[in-house]
């Protein structure tokens, strides 16, 4: 069922009917497999990738690198869970290398993001330091080109 995940990953809106045909199995089998994936968490969810800039809404995105003090027996788990709990935070990753946790957060303005760092992040007990970098421009998001390339193939050819 690897192909099922591959298809859904590239287009979550494919109908179970089309999925069944593409994979050469029954619709019921596809539906059951999807349900199993959803229950077990293999499929985390279905979301829409939106280019907010084109939609006319201001969005500021920042990546924040956090150095943290690991807790006894817990490592970075508790802090990571706390950070993941903030609505503004889009991704939380534990990293190898010179810092410990990487966040992506989005807000309406630089100020809003800065405020979040100052008021919410920095005061957390185990946060040692933060380094915030703002995203200037997005080129590719979750495997999709932000400016969609045109189909340049010459249709007049065979």
């Amino acid at each position: 069922m690897d192909n099922l995940l591959k298809l859904l990953e590239s287009d979550a809106r494919m109908s179970t009917a089309d999925l069944a045909v593409a994979l050469g199995c029954t619709e019921a089998a596809v539906a059951a497999q999807i349900e199993a994936y959803e229950k077990s968490g293999v499929i985390l969810g279905y979301k829409t990738l939106i280019n907010w800039e084109l939609a006319g809404r201001d969005v500021v995105t920042a990546r924040i690198e956090i150095k943290a003090v690991p807790k006894m027996n817990m490592g970075f788990e508790e802090l990571a869970e706390t950070l993941a709990g903030f609505d503004e935070v889009e991704t939380v990753y534990l990293m190898s290398g010179s810092y410990d946790l990487a966040l992506t957060i989005s807000g309406k303005s630089f100020k809003e993001v800065a405020l979040f760092v100052a008021a919410r992040l920095a005061p957390l007990e185990s946060v040692q330091s933060t380094a915030t970098s703002f995203v200037l421009r997005k080129y590719k998001e979750r495997g999709l080109m932000v400016h969609r390339p045109q189909d340049e193939r010459e249709v007049t050819h065979l």
């Binding site: 298809l7 287009d11 089309d18 045909v21 593409a22 007049t156 065979l158």
Partner: protein, 390 residues
């Protein structure tokens, strides 16, 4: 004033312009057309292949190659044909590298056909066989394959087309535009008919890597007594998504290849050097890339066949290439009317079947070398169109 019509070669002037070109000129001028018309992969050439070409350029390898192509490439082609299709061609004198499969077709027809010879063209098929044979002075004998035979060539049809003047059979499988394939037993039946004749075969196997289901592509050259009468045409365009590189090859018995190579040398000199470097990498490292693309095409193919049949356009299940060839006669339109109406009403462009020979009338060619989202959007529009016109 020079009257060019008088000066130009009559044979060339008399050739019919491609019907597809005319149709797509209209489509190209419209805004927002969803095309299902192209005959080339939507995938990019695999990264490692592009990289190999860039590297060769950076090293300044920009000279001509040997007329027949780089020895290393010829060796790789020979190995590849053996590995994939169980065929034996000596890289030294039984194959050479061409500018796409198209050039190989051209060279083959020109080297075999004398004026008055009969060339049997299995139809519906790729548009360039007939004009080239015509320019060579051949008499074209079209053999119309039928939907009820899954667009395969039958022994009976071949027998009916044979005459003492038959010189060449053009056998284009897996087929553009029908997606038909010839299984081993189908080819065996054809071989049986040809064994007692002097008829040569031009086997255009450019889509040889793109077959679906359990049966792999079989070349007629693999069958007993067929190797010595077959010129196999292959290439990189469809299998490795390398259309723009213009690279193919022709394989066959040395006496024929020798003559084709002579003509190639005078006409073309050699295939593009950069593309040859790229092709070596493709043959060495891209079996997996081919498999991935094939599996993607296969999923699209299933969706196309299913949806078209469900909306009432009966469509046999193609097992090769990347086209479906639905029957549109239930709509009451001719192929051309259907395509035009669909284009004007829904801005979806498909190719009229009669562009591939008269026997394609009543059908349209739909290419699925597009992303699934693009295909499903187009299918929705075609379905709307069918329902509105019922």
């Amino acid at each position: 004033m020079i009257d060019y019509q008088k000066l130009l070669s009559h044979k060339v002037v008399e050739l019919k312009p491609s019907g597809i070109r005319r149709f797509f000129n209209i489509a190209n001028e419209m805004d927002g057309v969803i095309s299902l018309g192209v005959g080339e992969p939507d995938f990019k050439t695999p990264y490692v292949v592009r990289q190999a070409a860039i590297e060769s350029l950076n090293r300044g390898r920009t000279w001509y190659t040997a007329n027949a192509g780089m020895p290393l490439l010829k060796q790789e082609i020979s190995k590849y044909l053996h590995r994939r299709f169980n065929l034996s061609y000596h890289p030294q004198n039984e194959l050479f590298v061409t500018v796409g499969g198209s050039e190989a077709i051209d060279m083959c027809i020109r080297c075999l056909v004398n004026p008055g010879d009969e060339v049997m063209v299995v139809e519906p098929s790729f548009v360039s066989y007939k004009p080239i044979a015509q320019v060579s002075g051949a008499k074209i004998v079209p053999i119309a394959t039928r939907a009820e035979d899954e667009f395969r060539l039958t022994a009976q049809q071949l027998k009916a087309a044979l005459s003492p003047k038959s010189k060449l059979l053009i056998l284009p499988f897996p087929a553009n535009p029908t997606g038909a394939v010839m299984l081993r037993e189908d080819l065996e039946a054809i071989a049986q008919v040809l064994r007692d004749t002097d008829v040569m075969i031009l086997s255009d196997e450019i889509y040889g890597e793109l077959t679906y289901g359990n049966e792999r592509h079989v070349s007629i050259a693999e069958l007993p007594d067929m190797w010595e009468r077959t010129i196999l045409v292959g290439g990189f365009s469809k299998s490795y998504a390398m259309t723009g590189w213009r690279l193919g090859y022709a394989c066959g018995p040395a006496p024929v290849i020798e003559q084709m190579l002579k003509l190639h040398q005078y006409a073309i000199m050699c295939a593009p050097t950069t593309s040859q470097f790229a092709a070596i990498e493709a043959l060495r490292r891209c079996d997996d890339a081919i498999a991935d693309m094939r599996s993607e095409y296969d999923m699209r193919r299933r969706i196309m066949v299913d949806r078209l049949n469900k909306m009432g356009l009966s469509c046999f299940e193609p097992r090769g290439a990347f086209y479906v060839f639905p029957d549109i006669r239930s709509t009451g339109y001719t192929s051309e009317q259907f395509c035009q109406e669909l284009l004007y009403a829904k801005k979806v462009a498909v190719v009229p079947g009669d562009a591939f020979g008269e026997s394609g009338e009543g059908y349209v060619r739909i290419s699925y070398s597009y992303a699934i989202e693009h295909l499903t959007r187009a299918l929705e529009l075609i379905e709307e169109f069918i329902h509105e016109r019922q």
